[in-house]
Amino acid sequence: MRNEKTTTIYLGPQHPGITGNMMVKLEIQGDTVVKAETHIGYLHRGFEKLMERRNWLQSFTIVCRICVPEPDPNEENYARGVEEIEGREVPEKARWIRMLVLELARIQAYLLWYGGQSGSAGLYTIGQWSVGDRNYVLDLFEELTGGRVYHMYIWPGGVRRDLPKGFKSRVAKVMDYIEKRLDDYDRVMFDNAVFQKRTQGIGYIPPEKAIEWGVVGPPLRAAGIASDVRKDDPYEFYDQVDFVVPDMYNTSDVWARALVRRFEIRQSINIVRQILDKMPDKGPVWNKIPNPHKWRIPRGEAYVKTESARGEFGYYVVSDGSEHPRRIHVRGPAYVHGITLLEKILVGQNIADVSVIMNSLGTCPPEMER
C-alpha cells in the first residue's frame, strides 16, 4: 500500500550527492527527512569469497581494492594479520616505509574529503583545488609503488621495494606545498560564513552514545573523545612519533568533524616529516616469503586494526593451515557509519544537509559492500 504521508526520494545510486555507489532512500515530509534507509550491495563483488579461492599472496592484490579512496590501510591490515598468525618478523626500515605510505595515504584521503565535503555543500572551488593537489601525493605513490590508486605495496613480510633515490626530499617538498595550500583552503572554506552556517549544528551525534553506536575515527574525535588506533593500539612505530589526537573540537556536528580533519591533515604532514627524519637509510625492506604456491600459514586467527582516514579499519583473519585464507572479514568504519548511524542521525534533518552529513561521516560504499 502506498504511503501517502511521506514522499520518497532516492539519493543514489546515480546521484551527484552520493559518495560512490550506494543508495539512501529518504522519506521526506516537506523538506525534512522522517526516515532514512541505506541500501547497499551495488558494489558487491564478493572479495571475501574470492580470497578463499586465492592463495595468501594472491589475496594481497584483492585487499587493496576493498576501499578505493584509501587502499593502504587494507594492505597494512592484511600484511600484519598474516604476520601475526605466522609470527613473521618485519625489517625495521619496512615498518617505517609502511608508516610513510599510510600517512601519505591519509593525506590524500583527506584531500579527497576536502573536495567531497565542500562539494556537497556547493563549494566546488575547494574540490577542484584539493583533488588537483592530491595528484602530487599520487605522483609520489606512483614513483614509489608504480600505481596511482592501487599500490599493492605493503605485503606480508615488509614492503615490495625500497625507496627510490631522492624520494625523501621529494616527499618533503610535496608536504611543504600541501601545507601551504591548506592555508588557502582554510581561507575559502573554513573562514567562509556560509560554509560555517551550512555545517554548524547539523548531523549531531550525542557524545555519550557515540562509542556505543560504534562511531570511530574523526566523527568520534569530533564528539570530544580522543580515540585513535595509532595511540590506543599502536602498530608499526607510531609510539615513536609525536602527534596529538584532537579532542578540543567537541560539538559533535559536521563542523567539528571538518575541524578535526583539518587538524589531522596537518598532524599527518608532521608525522611524515618525523618519519623522514627517523627512518634508517639502509637495511632490508622485505623478509622474503617462501614459494607462494606452497606458502602455508599455520592455523590461527588475528584481529588487526589500523587507523584509516575514516577511522578504525579492522581485519579478522582466520587461517586453517592451508595455502588459502580460511576467512578474512573486513570491518570498515563506513559499515557502521553508513548504515545504522546514518539512518539514525538523518532523521529530522533537512534534505539539503543529507549529502553534507554523509560526507562528514566518511561513508564509503566499496568497503561496506564486500
Binding site: 504521508k5 514522499t7 532516492y10 545510486p13 546521484h15 543508495m23 521526506i28 515530509q29 516537506g30 523538506d31
Partner: protein, 611 residues
C-alpha cells in the same frame, strides 16, 4: 411593471416557485433555475439606470433604483449568478434538499440586487439580512462535521456587522432625520466630527465584515470552504463585493468627498495587512478550498487598500480588481468544485496529476491563476498595475511594499493550486476520473475567456467602470482600449505585451513541435529520474505534504511580528488580545455568546452617550 421590481420578484418569487418545482421534479427545477438565472441577467440589462421606484411606508420614504455606481456591481452579480446557477445544476446533482438550497441561492441573488438597488438604509438593511441569513443557511446546508462551528462563526460576525449597521442607521435617522442614502451623502459634511466618525466607522465595521477586512475576516475562510462550491463561487466572487460596495459608499462618498482622507488611509493599511496575512495563511493550507478562501481574503485586502487610498486610479483599480476577482475566484472555486465532484477530495496531499483527465478544468484554472497572480498578459495584471502605480505616484511607499510582498508570496500558493490538483506524479488511484460535465466546464471556460480578452483589451471593462466612477464623483475619467497610464504619464500598452509574449510563444511552439518530431515522445511520469532506482509500487513520489516548509520556517518570525503589529495597531494589550482572538478559532459557543454580550454592552454604552 418596472423592471427593478420585476427583477426582485423574479428572484424572490422564483425562489419560492423553485422550492415547489424541486418537490415535484428535479428536472423541472433544474430547467427553472437556469431560466431564472438567464432571465435575471436579461432583465438586468434592460434596466434603465435612471428609473426609480419610490415607496412611502409608515412615514418612511423608501427608494429602489440603480445608480451608475451600484450598476457596476450589479453587472458582476448579473453575469456571475447565471453562470454559477448553471454550473450548480450538475454540481449539486444527487444531493439532498435541493429545493431548499436553490431557494436560498435565488434569495441571495435577489438580495444582492436588492442591496445594490436600495436607495435608503432600511431596505438596504432588510436585503442585507436576507442575504446574510440565506447564505448562513447555505453554509450549514451540507450538515458536515464541524459545520455548526463554522456557521456559528459566520453568523456571529454577521451579527456583529448587522448590529453595527443597525446602530449606524439609528444614528443616521436620529441625526439627519432621513434614511435616504443620498441624503446622508449630501449632508455628511454638516454632521459633527464625532458623528461623522462614529457613523462611518460603524458602517465600515458593518460592511467590513462581508469584505473580510483583517480583524473581521475570521469567518471567511471556513465559510467559503464549507459552502457548496457552486455557491462559493458566488459567495466569494460577488457577495463579498457587497461589502466592497458599502465600503466605497462610506469611504469615497462620505469621507473623501467631504475632505476626510485619514479614515481611508487607515483602512488602506488594514487592507494591505489583510493581503499579506491572507497570503501567508493561504500558503500553509493543505486544502484547495481553504487555500482559495484565504486567497479571497488576501485579494479583498488589495481591493480595500485601493478604496482606502481613494485616488482616481486607485479606486479605478479597486473596482476593476473587484470585477476581476469575481471572475477569477468564481472560476477557481468552480474548478475546485469540479475537482471535488470528479475526484472526491480537494486535499493537495491526496490529489495529483489530474491534468490529463480534466484538461478543460485545468485550462480555466491556469488562466484564472495567472490572473490571480497578476502576471501579464491576463487581466489580473492590469488591476495590480493600476493599483501599484496609483500607490507609487501618490507616495504610499510602504503600502506598495506590503502589497508586493503579498503578491510575490501569492505566486507560492498560485503554483500550489496548479501543482497540487493537476500536476505531479500520476497514480492509478485517479485513473477513472473524467472531465466534469459540459455544464460545469462551460461557465469556467467562459470566464477564463473573459479574463484573456480583458487582459489584452481591457477597454471593454474600463467603459462601465469609468461610468460608475463618474457616478461616484470622480471627474475626467479617461481610459483607452488597451493602454494604461499613471499620473506621471508612464504607460503600458497591453497589446504590445500580449503580442510580444504571444508571437514568441507561438513561433517557438511551432519550432519546438516540429524539430525532431519523430524523436519526440511521451513517457509516463513513472519514467523519471529516480537516481537509477526502479520506482516501486509502495512508495509515493508525489511531493505534496508541507509543500512550502522552508518558506514557512523563514516567515515564522515575521508571522509573529506582524500579528503583534496588528494588535498593537488595534491598541490593546498584545497578549490579552492574542488570547482573545484565538478564542474565535476554538469554536467554543460560550465565548461567542460572551462576545455578543460584551459587544451589546459596548453598543449600549455608546448609544447612551450619543442620544
Amino acid at each position: 411593471m418596472n423592471t427593478l421590481v420585476l427583477l426582485l420578484i423574479l428572484f424572490f418569487g422564483g425562489g419560492l416557485i423553485t422550492y415547489f418545482a424541486y418537490k415535484i421534479s428535479k428536472i423541472i427545477g433544474d430547467i427553472l433555475i437556469a431560466l431564472i438565472g438567464l432571465t435575471g441577467a436579461y432583465l438586468f440589462f434592460q434596466i434603465d439606470i435612471h428609473s426609480l421606484v419610490s415607496i412611502k411606508l409608515a412615514g418612511l420614504r423608501l427608494g429602489l433604483g440603480f445608480n451608475g455606481f451600484s450598476w457596476i456591481f450589479g453587472l458582476l452579480v448579473a453575469i456571475l449568478s447565471p453562470l454559477a446557477l448553471i454550473y450548480s445544476i450538475p454540481y449539486m446533482k444527487g444531493r439532498e434538499r435541493l429545493e431548499w438550497f436553490y431557494m436560498l441561492f435565488l434569495f441571495v441573488i435577489g438580495a444582492m440586487f436588492g442591496i445594490l438597488m436600495a436607495r435608503d438604509w432600511v431596505s438596504l438593511f432588510v436585503f442585507w439580512e436576507i442575504m446574510t441569513w440565506s447564505s448562513y443557511l447555505i453554509v450549514i446546508y451540507s450538515r458536515g462535521k464541524g459545520l455548526d462551528k463554522v456557521g456559528l462563526k459566520y453568523i456571529f460576525f454577521s451579527a456583529v456587522g448587522a448590529y453595527s449597521l443597525l446602530t449606524a442607521i439609528v444614528l443616521i435617522g436620529a441625526t439627519i432625520k432621513s434614511l435616504y442614502i443620498g441624503d446622508l451623502i449630501n449632508f455628511f459634511g454638516v454632521l459633527s466630527l464625532k458623528n461623522q466618525l462614529l457613523i462611518g466607522i460603524l458602517l465600515i465595521i458593518g460592511f467590513g465584515v462581508k469584505a473580510a477586512v483583517m480583524p473581521l475576516h475570521v469567518w471567511a475562510p471556513d465559510a467559503y470552504s464549507s459552502a457548496p462550491m457552486s455557491f462559493t463561487s458566488l459567495f466569494s466572487g460577488a457577495m463579498s463585493k457587497m461589502g466592497i460596495y458599502g465600503l466605497i459608499l462610506v469611504v469615497i462618498n462620505m469621507y473623501l468627498n467631504h475632505g476626510i482622507s485619514s479614515v481611508g488611509h487607515w483602512l488602506a493599511w488594514f487592507g494591505a495587512i489583510t493581503a499579506v496575512m491572507g497570503t501567508f495563511y493561504a500558503i500553509i493550507q493543505d486544502d484547495a478550498k481553504k487555500l482559495l478562501a484565504w486567497s479571497s481574503v488576501a485579494q479583498l485586502g488589495y481591493i480595500v487598500t485601493g478604496i482606502g487610498v481613494g485616488t482616481k486610479l486607485a479606486v479605478f483599480a479597486a473596482i476593476f480588481l473587484a470585477l476581476l476577482h469575481g471572475a477569477f475566484k468564481g472560476t477557481l472555486f468552480m474548478a475546485v468544485g469540479a475537482v471535488e465532484r470528479q475526484a472526491g477530495t480537494t486535499k493537495f496531499s491526496e490529489l495529483r496529476a489530474l491534468i490529463r483527465k480534466m484538461p478543460y478544468t485545468f485550462i480555466s484554472t491556469l488562466i484564472a491563476v495567472i490572473a490571480l497572480a497578476g502576471i501579464p498578459p491576463i487581466a489580473g495584471f492590469i488591476g495590480k498595475w493600476m493599483l501599484y502605480e496609483s500607490l507609487i505616484t501618490d507616495g504610499h511607499v510602504w503600502l506598495v511594499v506590503l502589497l508586493f510582498l503579498a503578491s510575490t508570496a501569492g505566486f507560492l500558493y498560485s503554483y500550489r493550486i496548479l501543482f497540487g490538483l493537476f500536476l505531479g506524479q500520476e497514480e492509478d488511484d485517479y485513473k477513472d476520473v473524467k472531465e466534469a460535465p459540459v455544464l460545469m466546464t462551460i461557465p469556467m471556460l467562459l470566464m477564463a475567456l473573459f479574463l484573456v480578452v480583458a487582459g489584452t483589451l481591457p477597454g471593454f471593462v474600463f467603459k462601465p467602470i469609468a461610468q460608475s466612477m463618474e457616478a461616484l464623483g470622480f471627474a475626467d475619467i479617461t481610459y483607452q482600449m488597451s493602454i494604461l497610464t499613471n499620473s506621471w504619464g508612464d504607460m503600458v500598452d497591453m497589446t504590445y505585451v500580449a503580442m510580444a509574449l504571444g508571437v514568441t510563444f507561438v513561433v517557438f511552439l511551432i519550432v519546438i513541435t516540429l524539430v525532431n518530431r519523430r524523436g519526440t515522445r511521451y513517457v509516463t511520469t513513472k519514467d523519471i529520474h529516480t537516481a537509477g532506482e526502479p520506482p516501486s509500487e509502495d512508495d509515493n513520489y508525489h511531493f505534496a505534504l508541507d509543500f512550502f516548509k522552508p518558506f514557512e520556517r523563514a516567515i515564522a518570525p515575521v508571522f509573529k511580528y506582524s500579528m503583534t503589529r496588528i494588535y498593537n495597531v488595534i491598541g490593546r494589550g498584545v497578549e490579552d488580545f492574542f488570547q482573545f482572538v484565538r478564542r474565535f478559532y476554538t469554536g467554543n459557543a460560550q465565548t461567542y455568546a460572551l462576545y455578543v454580550v460584551i459587544f451589546f454592552a459596548i453598543l449600549l454604552l455608546l448609544a447612551k452617550q450619543i442620544f
